[in-house]
């Protein structure tokens, strides 16, 4: 244990890792603070750079950039009422109301402080949850993996803040994309239409870059430019945060726990965590009437929540290759590239690398406090950069980055195509996160599914025979039937309500 920890320290105390982490932190802070550029997009654009780094340095950049970007989305949310990332959307109104009351320092300070605390809580959950789960997962057969994968896919309905049917359709689309190529049980070209470039299948990373980055540039083409940030002098940012921690320690803990749970659930990430925690804070608050008028309580809880979800999203990703959120989906791609294939054995064979990941998360969240304060102070200058200069650079990074992944132009075509797909899906209420879930998990789902079918030899009994498999099966079937039951229940209730009002 101590030896592994020392090894982990040795892994991260190289100049490469330190520089990569610092640079990625600054990058994450800047991208996160620019409205319209999300944390997921920041991570996706980092991937081509990670090719040229050592495995630990590559993961360091993702860890640092994603944690920082989730916090710095709070900055334009508080100062402009425009969330920098979707994860800050839940409480942008509240933070802006505080700014108008002259409490910008308190709002932003709460953003930094409770983000850091939440991030560290998330790491602790990763440290505590992952190893015992890995222990259990070591004994999993393909049947357990099959149900686990199905359960993960069913979580697509969680990311739907609209119709669950559309979310499931999005998930199926993602699975269909993963079918393309010759990497299947028979090794036959499938859905390649004779195009050689498609034989290798659709690489998840260019697809994700397209869905998150190109589609965002496309949306920017149709939306008006956000207003510039008024320049202002800030007082002490961290003043009063300790008092808030003591006053709202219960809200903070609840935010951490909710964030961790939502992070672990496949597909649902920081934005969902913030919405749920903010709503929960209002629901259980002693003074709910103050919400919306510039009250810090909701900020504490939601800020603690969205950062906690970042680290806990790595739990299913590292253990099963099931992405806990869209950022973890990208991280999985990088892990595979770096020979750290997700799976329970990672925790026994590459234990020092896992410890290094924990340590990097902790360092990133501590680093967030000084860097975050600096960022708040210079935010007014960074936000001066007009969108018309940022978006073209992102376009170039998309083109070059996707080319770099396989050193062929097909990557660029993939990015463009998925930009359009992501844009059209988003515009019509199909959550892209569900499709991402399908794309990333597709190969694994098919493998577990087909191997299980072959092993069971036509009988469905083996799918339920093992106790863990039976439990997972019950959960998966429950999740499958839940939307149907809700729909039926509403249909039954509606005529009654209609009859009641007509009377």
């Amino acid at each position: 244990m101590l030896k592994t920890l020392l090894e982990a320290f040795a892994l991260i105390s190289t100049w490469e890792v330190i520089i990569a982490m610092f640079a990625a932190s600054v990058y994450g802070l800047v991208i996160g603070s620019l409205p319209g550029l999300s944390a997921t997009m920041a991570t996706a654009l980092l991937v081509p750079v990670t090719f040229y780094l050592s495995p630990i340095a590559a993961i360091a950049t993702i860890v640092a950039a994603s944690s920082m970007a989730i916090f710095s989305g709070d900055i334009p949310g508080a100062l402009l009422r425009i969330p920098g990332t979707p994860a800050s959307a839940a409480y942008a109104d509240e933070a802006y109301a505080m700014t108008r009351k002259g409490q910008a320092e308190l709002a932003l300070g709460a953003g930094v402080w409770f983000s850091a605390v939440g991030g560290i809580a998330g790491v602790l959950s990763l440290m505590i949850l992952a190893p015992p789960l890995a222990e259990i997962a070591l004994s999993f057969s393909t049947f357990e993996y099959f149900w686990l994968a199905l359960l993960g896919l069913m979580c697509a309905t969680l990311v739907a803040r609209s119709s669950p049917v559309k979310a499931i359709a999005g998930m199926f689309l993602g699975l269909l994309v993963s079918c393309i190529g010759i990497e299947n049980p028979g090794g036959v070209p499938r859905f390649t239409f004779g195009i050689t470039d498609l034989f290798g299948g659709i690489e998840p990373i260019p697809a994700l870059v397209g869905v998150f980055a190109v589609s965002q540039v496309m949306r920017a083409m149709l939306t008006p430019e956000p207003p510039p940030l008024p320049r202002r002098k800030f007082g002490s940012i961290m003043a009063g945060q300790w008092r808030l921690t003591k006053q709202y320690h219960w809200q903070m803990t609840r935010g951490n726990i909710v964030g961790i749970i939502i992070g672990v659930l496949p597909g649902a990430g920081a934005d969902m965590a913030a919405w749920v925690s903010y709503a929960m804070s209002k629901r259980f608050s002693k003074e709910p009437e103050k919400f919306g008028t510039g009250h810090v309580e909701g900020l504490v809880e939601a800020g603690a929540s969205n950062n906690a979800s970042i680290a806990s999203g790595w739990v299913p990703s590292l253990l099963f290759g099931i992405p806990g959120d869209t950022i973890a989906a990208i991280a999985i791609g990088v892990l595979y590239m770096k020979g750290l294939n997700p799976g329970p054995t990672l925790f026994t064979e590459k234990a020092s690398s896992m410890y290094a990941i924990y340590l990097m998360f902790i360092i990133a969240n501590i680093l967030m406090i000084p860097l975050g304060i600096a960022m708040i102070r210079i935010a007014a200058y960074i936000l001066l950069a007009p969108r018309s200069t940022v978006m073209p650079i992102i376009m170039l990074c998309c083109a070059v980055g996707s080319f770099a992944i396989g050193n062929n132009m097909f990557g660029v075509v993939t990015v463009a195509a998925f930009g359009v797909i992501g844009y059209v899906m988003e515009a019509n209420g199909y959550p892209v996160a569900a499709m991402v879930l399908g794309i990333v998990m597709g190969t694994m789902v098919e493998q577990a599914f087909v191997t299980s079918l072959i092993k069971s030899d036509g009988s469905i009994l083996p799918f339920f025979e093992r106790p863990v498999a039976a439990i997972l099966a019950a959960m998966a079937i429950g999740a499958l039937l839940w939307p149907v039951m809700v729909w039926v229940w509403r249909k039954v209730k509606q005529p009654q309500a209609a009859a009641a009002t007509s009377r």
Partner: protein, 163 residues
């Protein structure tokens, strides 16, 4: 690009059916009941069923609640100008990426990238005073990072970089 649910749903039905049929006609692995054809068959069927549900508005009742949550504050300050061709502007970024695919090998990275930057910047409403220097400088910066530091083999084309 907001389409009615019946259109997107029907498209999904067609896509799902095509996928299922495509899976169906794949050759099976000899001596094995389950091969590469099963998975597309299952997915295609699922997709088609989802498409049908969307066409008939099942699950649509969940969507109304969401309209209440204001997602993008402040962005709706001024209503965007509405023209027939205005919506097509969204297609500019993917079109430029395709332009990159076709032109980069012939024109070289620097020239292609400069054109992309200039067009995107102007399309986002910047004046040429901003767009021109940006288009002149940013390709070199990107080339320095990706081409020089990260050793991505970017095409030199007509205008090779000085390094």
């Amino acid at each position: 690009m907001r389409l009615p649910d019946s259109v997107t749903g029907s498209f999904l039905v067609a896509l799902g059916a095509a996928a299922a049929y495509g899976g169906w006609i794949l050759p099976p692995v000899p001596g094995q009941p389950v091969g590469p054809n099963v998975f597309p068959l299952v997915i295609g069927t699922g997709l088609a069923l989802c498409g049908l549900a969307i066409v008939f508005g099942i699950g649509h009742s969940f969507e109304e609640e969401e309209e209440l949550i204001p997602l993008e504050h402040g962005q709706a300050v001024s209503p965007p100008p509405q023209g027939k061709l205005y919506g097509l502007r969204a297609l500019l970024p993917p079109a430029l990426l395709l332009f990159y695919v076709f032109a980069a090998d012939r024109l070289g990275f620097i020239i292609t990238a400069a054109i992309m930057v200039y067009v995107t910047t102007t399309a986002l409403g910047a004046k040429w005073k901003l767009a021109l220097p940006l288009a002149a400088l940013s390709p070199f910066a990107i080339h320095l990072i990706f081409g020089k530091l990260l050793r991505v083999p970017l095409p030199a084309g007509l205008l090779p970089t000085p390094w």
